[in-house]
């Protein structure tokens, strides 16, 4: 490209498509586009031919047929007479519940471990390094199966509670058995009841009005608390003195919620041993608990490494500069170090959340009925519709992932350093 010749005056020649850099990229792209279209056409014609031989044209009618299988852990009402579509919905909700629980605990654990790994205490730092290496170098599927086996093998059977060999934990409110964990459930005496949406369709769901009322009170409280903070900032800017606000902000959030709970007649329903098993309370199956613990511990190891590298990436001069300005250590952390470290930490952590969500599909190994277990598992086997179920399942996972990526990109853009 030392000297670009002037465009030739003789008009367009066919060989220019290959030898002229202005046209060559166009040629390459068109050729590759044709190749890709041909490839997909080949795939589709193969698929059509194969499906015709099998006598299974693509159709989604099976989604409306009764599923005939039970789902043992679910949030909404469901029976085996419900449709495959509803079974898939239960699976999707189970996936999301597991992912959400996992993300919360993995973040808490990961941040704690990442900070402790930087501890000056030799023993603590070494133990955390060991933890991280152990969890990062052993497959997550093995961890899931190990935790599941621990749940089944070492936890007491429900009937051992009767004979007194095992006892409930936390003032007789939580029962940990080899079938799962029973925790107290929130009940409302004078509750507002539930509302049911979408009638009798496969996508029907009920909403607890009590929960909605509590959430509204919570958000109003948070909003007022934010206002108090803004006001305090304003006073500080004007006078240089910051009024004490913490008790006002705390009480404006907590008091109304306590009053609402009291008005709704809130109490806890404890699990009780009846017959061969526990009744009452919320029942978290051993598969859910095992997945939750294993995915949290596994992802926490990765998050810990992200947190560590994020903290180490903030230049030492930053904290020294803050001390030189006379800012207290606590405020240095919250105003100087964390905002810079978080910018580095959060994008990889969100991609860990994405990994956790995708790894939750390993639930099929321990029998937790998530999207893979319902739609791409039993529904596939019962209806024999591999193409439709697997593609639907992939599309749903893709949508979840793209949603999380969108959030990540939005965050990245909002905290990006604007240079020049």
């Amino acid at each position: 490209m030392t000297a670009i010749p002037d465009p030739s005056k003789q008009g367009f020649k066919f060989s220019q498509l290959l030898y002229d850099t202005r046209y060559r990229s166009m040629t390459i792209q068109i050729v590759s586009l044709i190749a890709i279209l041909l490839f997909f056409g080949w795939l589709i014609s193969n698929t059509a031919a194969n499906l015709a031989t099998l006598g299974k044209p693509i159709q989604f009618k099976f989604l409306g047929e009764p599923s005939n299988y039970d789902i043992n852990q679910r949030l909404l009402d469901y029976t085996s007479r419900d449709t495959h579509l509803r079974a898939g919905l239960m699976g999707l909700i189970n996936t999301l519940v597991l992912a959400l629980m996992g993300c919360v605990t993995a973040t808490i654990l990961g941040v704690a471990i990442g900070v402790l790994r930087l501890s000056k205490n030799w023993l603590v730092a070494r133990v955390m390094t060991l933890y991280i290496e152990l969890f990062r170098n052993i497959p997550v599927l093995l961890w899931i199966i190990i935790v599941f086996s621990i749940m089944i093998e070492t936890m007491p059977r429900p009937n051992q509670f009767r004979s007194g060999e095992a006892a409930m934990k936390l003032f007789d409110s939580v029962a940990i058995t080899n079938r799962g964990v029973y925790i107290p459930e929130p009940l409302f005496n004078g509750g507002l009841g539930d509302i049911f949406l979408l009638g009798e369709s496969s996508l029907r769901f009920g909403l607890s009005l009590d929960l909605i009322a509590i959430l509204i009170v919570l958000f109003v409280g948070l909003f007022i608390s934010k206002k108090i903070k803004t006001n305090a900032d304003f006073i500080q800017n004007e006078t240089g003195v910051r009024p004490t606000t913490w008790w006002k902000r705390l009480s404006i959030v907590i008091l109304p919620i306590v009053i609402t709970l009291w008005a709704l007649g809130f109490h806890l329903g404890y699990p009780e041993l009846k017959g061969f098993n526990f009744k009452g309370g919320i029942y978290l199956r051993n598969s859910l608990i095992a997945l939750w613990i294993a995915l949290s511990l596994y992802t926490a190891a990765f998050i810990a490494e992200n947190v560590r590298s994020g903290i180490q990436a903030v230049a030492k001069g930053q904290s020294e500069a803050a001390y030189a300005l006379g800012i207290s250590p606590g405020r240095t952390m919250s105003l100087i170090i964390l905002p810079q470290a978080l910018r580095i930490i959060i994008p990889p952590v969100i991609s860990q959340f994405l990994n956790l969500t995708k790894n939750s599909s390993l639930a099929i190994a321990v029998g937790y009925m998530d999207l893979t277990g319902t739609l791409m598992g039993i529904t596939l086997n019962q209806t024999g519709r591999e193409l439709e179920t697997v593609l639907m399942g992939m599309a749903i996972y893709l949508i979840i992932s793209l949603a999380i990526s969108t959030v990540m990109n939005w965050y990245n853009n909002s905290v990006k350093l604007v240079e020049r």
């Binding site: 490209m1 194969n50 205490n121 030799w122 170098n137 093995l142 599909s361 390993l362 893979t372």
Partner: protein, 434 residues
């Protein structure tokens, strides 16, 4: 009056630091008991370590190496008066009896030398790639290794891998001769088109006829007899070896300024990264036969290898793209101003630097890929985890858990940990900073 002022005339000999500041005690004080919160932390963590080790160590040291069944193990432990969960001790007899199965699956035991030879040769073939000091001549072994490995493990006629390999020779010869006769572009086209035609139309008849003329071969092994760590390493190494070049091409495509090519690469990468590997394995086990021409039925392990490779390439592409993006723009401009064309610039200037930056990411993708090979147990292949279920189905070992999981976990740990240490060595070796 005597002068009472005192001036020291000699230097006092230096004294050793107080005992509490040096040696072991000083080290403990400095690193573990420097202040009260630190001390509390040390005590809590120390208590945890002691209680965990106190539970695990007696279990690990258990004289059950020679037992042949779980009942016998329990008997030995009961005689020693040990009790507790799992009989109070590990039952290592299962590992002694089944470790070969965990390594090789149901591969015929009289033919174990073939996978062993394949893995020894793998070490030799990787040597010129991994270490500087290895002889450069080994690179020829690296080139033919994939075909050799295929033949060693699956067996059958030697002519099939030979004819497939000669496709590459055809490509080379085609490039050289057509290049001379018709110019470089025609050479490139010939080097792509000729081997494809060779593989599609000539390979299988040629190998069959060669085999009928000169039947050289070894005993063929069915795919469902492959298993254990051999299977994990096979899938892992194939994925690792193929995903790096494909990933680099995808990353270049995503960075390129040809909009159609870019869109295709972005769609592929985002799609693969958006779905869990297990769904891709479902595609391999249930759908791939539907997508291919009617009547074609090829091996499940091969289908899994394809899917695992595609999966890893998408992740690799993102890692390499990170490296490309981290490279200062001046490097690209410098390459352009030297008059290098696109591929020369990539090969000589951009890629060596971008790949160096992305070594940690590349290696952690490799480690992730190797760990993910365990997922094939879900679609019914007998990887170490699938085999451990299989071993438990045996009456003698019904109910054995921790020994098998511990063994499988330990081997995975050794593989993955050494990979991560190698990446640190590589980073240090390639570091050109100060």
């Amino acid at each position: 009056m005597a002068d009472l002022s005192f001036v020291r005339k000699e230097i006092i000999p230096q004294r050793a630091a107080p005992l509490s500041q040096t040696g072991i005690i000083g080290w403990f004080r400095k690193n573990m008991f420097s202040d009260i919160p630190n001390t509390i932390l040390t005590i809590i963590v120390g208590y945890f370590i002691i209680s965990i080790l106190g539970n695990i160590l007696p279990w690990v040291f258990s004289p059950t190496w020679n037992s042949v069944s779980l009942t016998e193990c329990r008997g030995i432990l009961a005689e020693l008066g040990r009790s507790g969960h799992g009989g109070g001790g590990a039952c290592w007899g299962v590992i002694r009896e089944r470790w070969l199965q965990l390594l090789f699956g149901f591969y015929p035991s009289e033919l174990y030398w073939r996978p062993i030879l394949a893995f020894v040769l793998l070490g030799l073939a990787l040597a010129p790639v991994l270490f500087d000091k290895a002889s450069r001549k080994l690179i020829y072994l690296t080139a033919i290794y994939p075909f050799l490995c295929f033949w060693l493990i699956w067996g059958g006629s030697i002519w099939f891998p030979v004819t497939v390999f000669s496709g590459f020779i055809v490509a080379y010869l085609g490039y050289v001769y057509v290049n001379k006769a018709f110019g470089s572009l025609a050479g490139v086209i010939a080097s792509i088109a000729l081997p494809v035609l060779w593989w599609l139309f000539i390979t299988s008849p040629l190998s069959i006829s060669l085999h009928s003329i000169m039947p050289i071969g070894s005993e063929a092994i069915e795919s469902d007899r492959l298993g254990g760590f051999m299977l994990a390493v096979l899938i892992g190494v194939t994925g690792i070896a193929l995903s790096l070049p494909i990933g680099i091409l995808l990353a270049l495509g995503r960075q390129s300024n040809l909009p159609i090519l870019k869109a295709v690469c972005v769609c592929f990468i985002e799609f693969i990264r958006g779905v869990p590997l297990i769904t891709l394995l479902f595609v391999a086990s249930t759908l791939l036969n539907i997508f291919l021409p009617p009547g074609s039925n090829f091996d499940l392990i091969l289908r899994v290898m394809i899917m695992v490779t595609l999966f890893a390439s998408a992740y690799m592409a993102e890692v390499v793209r990170g490296g490309l993006a981290a490279l200062p723009k001046g490097q690209y401009e410098a390459a352009d101003s030297l008059g290098l064309d696109y591929w020369k610039a990539q090969r000589l200037i951009i890629m060596p630097q971008a790949l160096k930056i992305s070594i940690p990411g590349i290696v952690s993708t490799f480690i992730g890929l190797f760990k993910d090979t365990t997922l094939v147990s879900i679609i019914g292949l007998l990887d170490p985890l699938g085999l451990s279920t299989n071993i438990r189905a045996d009456m003698a070992w019904n109910g054995i858990l921790w020994e098998l999981y511990g063994f499988v976990g330990l081997i995975f740990f050794i593989f993955c940990f050494s990979m991560s240490r190698y990446s640190m060595y590589l980073e240090r070796k390639l570091a050109t900073g100060h």
